[in-house]
Amino acid sequence: MNFSVLTSEFWALALQGTALGLIYSLIALGYTMVYGVLRLINFANSEIFMVGTFSTMLIEIVVFKRAIDLPALSGGKLIFVLLLTLMGSMLVCALLAMLVELVAYRRLRARGTNRLASLISAIGTSIFLSESVRLLSGSRSHSAPRVLDKWSFGEVAGANFRIDTMMTIVAAIVIFIVLEIFVTKSHLGKAIRAVSMSEENSKLMGINLNRVITMTFAIGGLTTGAAAFFYTTTYENTVFNVGFNLGIAAFTSAVLGGIGNLRGAFYGGLSLGLLEQFASAILGSQWKSVTVFLVLVLVLLIKPSGIFGEAVQQTRT
C-alpha cells in the first residue's frame, strides 16, 4: 500500500489513465455497437484490435519505408504519415469486422439459433485470427518503428503532457463527438438505433437489416482500428496476443458504462483507465486487474445496468 502517490503523482497518473482509458473506450465501442444491435458479445473484437496494431506497424514499415532505426519524422510529412496510417488501420479493421460478421454471425443469425452458438463461433474466429497472426509473425513481440518523436508540451503539476498522450486524448474525444452526431443525425445512425430498439419493427419499416448490421460492425471496426493506431504509436510494440488483455479491459469498460450505450463506453473506458492507473500505483501493478474486477462486481451489484444507465433503449433480455 502506497497512498503517498495520491499526492505526489496524482496528475501524472490522471493523465496517463485518461489516455489509456480512452484507448479502452474506442475498443469498447466495437463491443458496445454490436451489442446494441445484436445483443451479442463480439468476442472477435479483441483480435480485430490485434490485427489493427499489426497493420499500423506494417503500413509504417512497408508503405512508408520506416525502418526501426530511422529518426522520427517532423512537420507536414509527419502529419501526412500519421493520418494515412490511422486511416489505413481503421480501414483494415472495418473490413475485417465486416468479414467476421459475414463468416461468424450471419448464417447463425439467419437460422435464429441460440446465442451461445454465436458466441462459440466468435470465439472460434478469435482463435483463428490470433493463431494466424502467430503463425505468420511468431510468438515474439515486435517493435513498431518510431514515427512520432515523443516530445512534451511541458509539465504541469508533475503531469507530462507528451505529444502522443495528447494526440490520443484529443483524437478520441473528436471520434466520440463525430460518432455521437452520426448516430443521432444521419440516416444510417437512425437505422442503427431503430434496429437496436426492435429488430422486427425496423424490418417492417423497410430497414435493410443485413446492411445495418454490417455497417454497425464496420463502425465498431473503425473505432477499434483507431484505438489500435493510438496504442501502437504510444507503446511502439505489439504481439499476437495483445488483444486479450485489452479486449477484456475494453469489454469491462463497456459493461461498466452500460453496454449498448455510446456515452457509457466513453465514461466506462475513462473510469477503468483511471482506476487501473491509480490501483497499480497504490497496490502494485500485479493487483491492478483484481481491483478493476472487484470494482466492477461492486458497481454491478449496486447498479446492474452500469454506472451510466441502460442502453439507448430499455430492454429485457
Binding site: L108, N114, L116, I123, G124, I127, F128, L301, T317
Partner: protein
C-alpha cells in the same frame, strides 16, 4: 434436415427392456475402461497420439475435460447461466490439493472433500452477488472471477507465485492399485468412476425438483419466479454443484501432474470447456461428453501439424457452429417444446 442422432438413440433406448439396457450400459462402460489399451492393440492403434502418450492424453485432457464439461453443463446447459470463469473452481481444487499435501502432508483422498468444499464455498461467494445479474453481466463477472483467482495464485507466497507448487504427491494406492507416473491408466479409471458418478447425479437431479426448476429458469426466469420457483436458490445450487465437480477435477489433476502453476488455469481453459459444452450439444449429457472427447483429443492427435493445430481448432469451431449450431447431439426435442403430457 440434419439427422438428430440424439432422438434416434433415445428411441432405440426406450424400446429396450431393463436387462438389455443393463447389458448395454455395462458393455459401454467396459469398452471405455479398456480404452487405455487401444493404442497398443493393432486395429485401434491409429488412435495413438504422437507426442504425449495415449494413456496420459486419456486422463488429461480427455477425461478431465469430460468431467469439467459435465460440471459446466449443469450451469450453462441446465439452468442457462453463462459462466466464462469455470477454470476458477478447477484451480481452487488443484491449489487446495497442492497446499494441503505439501504443507500438511494430506493425501489425495483426504484433500478431495476439502477441495470440493472450497470450490463450493467459492461458488456461493461468487454466486450470491453475481446470480442476481442478467446473462451477459454474469458472463463478465465470472470471467473476472476466473482471472482474479489466477492472479491471486500468481501473487501469493503460499501458492508459490509464478513457479506454482511443485512436489504434490500422487494418490496413495487403493486395493493394491498403484498411482504413479508409470500407470496413467489407473488415473483414467478413477476419472471414469468420477464421470459415472457425476452422470448418475445429474440424471437424478434432472428428473427431480431441481431439474424441473432449472428447466423452468432456463426457459423463462420471470415466469419461473412467478410460478413460485425460488430462482436465486436454484441458480445458486446449479452453480455450486458445477463448482464442486470442477473442484474435484482440480484435486485429481493436481495429484496427477504433481506440479501446478498459475498459467495452467488461464482463461483459455474456461473457453475450451465452454466450447466442449456448446460443440457437443448444450444441455445433453451425452452430447457434452462426446464434444469434450473430440475437442480434447483432436488437438493432441493432430500434433503432426503441431503449429497449426490451434488454428484448425478455431476453424472447426466456426464450421461446426455454422453447420450444426445446436451441437453434435442436441438436447431432446421435448425439452425444447414440452409435449410429454401428450403421451
Amino acid at each position: 434436415m440434419m439427422i438428430n442422432l440424439r432422438d434416434k438413440g433415445a428411441k432405440v433406448w426406450d424400446g429396450w427392456n431393463r436387462p438389455t439396457r443393463t447389458v448395454f450400459t455395462l458393455v459401454v462402460i467396459a469398452i471405455v475402461a479398456l480404452l487405455p489399451f487401444a493404442a497398443t492393440w493393432g486395429p485401434t492403434s491409429f488412435l495413438n497420439t504422437p507426442i504425449t502418450s495415449f494413456e496420459n492424453v486419456l486422463v488429461y485432457p480427455v477425461g478431465m475435460f469430460v468431467l469439467m464439461a459435465l460440471g459446466l453443463n449443469i450451469v450453462v446447459g441446465k439452468s442457462g447461466l453463462l459462466d466464462l470463469g469455470y477454470v476458477a473452481f478447477f484451480a481452487i481444487g488443484a491449489y487446495t490439493m497442492g497446499i494441503l499435501s505439501t504443507l500438511y502432508g494430506w493425501n489425495t483422498w483426504e484433500a478431495m472433500p476439502f477441495g470440493i468444499l472450497f470450490a463450493m464455498l467459492a461458488g456461493v461467494l461468487l454466486g450470491l452477488p453475481a446470480l442476481r445479474l442478467r446473462g451477459d453481466y454474469l458472463a463478465i463477472i465470472t470471467l473476472g472471477f476466473g482471472e482474479i483467482i489466477r492472479i491471486v495464485a500468481l501473487n501469493l507466497t503460499v501458492t508459490g507465485g509464478t513457479n506454482g507448487i511443485p512436489g504434490i504427491p500422487n494418490p496413495p494406492s487403493i486395493f493394491g492399485i498403484k498411482f504413479d507416473l508409470m500407470n496413467p491408466a489407473h488415473y483414467f479409471w478413477i476419472v471414469v468412476i468420477m464421470i459415472l458418478l457425476v452422470i448418475w447425479m445429474i440424471r437424478r437431479f434432472t428428473v427431480r425438483r431441481p431439474g424441473r426448476a432449472w428447466e423452468a429458469i432456463r426457459q423463462d426466469e420471470d415466469v419461473a419466479s412467478l410460478m413460485g420457483v425460488n430462482t436465486l436458490v436454484y441458480k445458486l445450487w446449479s452453480f455450486v454443484i458445477g463448482a464442486a465437480i470442477g473442484g474435484a477435477a482440480g484435486v485429481l489433476f493436481a495429484s496427477k501432474v504433481m506440479v501446478i502453476a498459475p498459467q495452467m488455469f488461464n482463461f483459455n481453459v474456461s473457453v475450451l470447456i465452454l466450447a466442449c459444452v456448446v460443440f457437443g450439444g448444450i444441455g445433453n449429457i451425452w452430447g457434452v461428453a462426446a464434444g469434450a472427447v473430440i475437442l480434447a483429443y483432436l488437438p493432441e492427435r493432430i500434433r503432426f501439424i503441431s503449429d497449426a493445430r490451434q488454428l484448425i481448432f478455431g476453424l472447426v469451431l466456426i464450421l461446426m457452429m455454422n453447420l450444426r449450431p445446436d451441437g453434435l447431439l442436441p438436447r431432446k426435442k421435448r425439452e425444447k417444446i414440452k409435449e410429454k403430457g401428450a403421451q
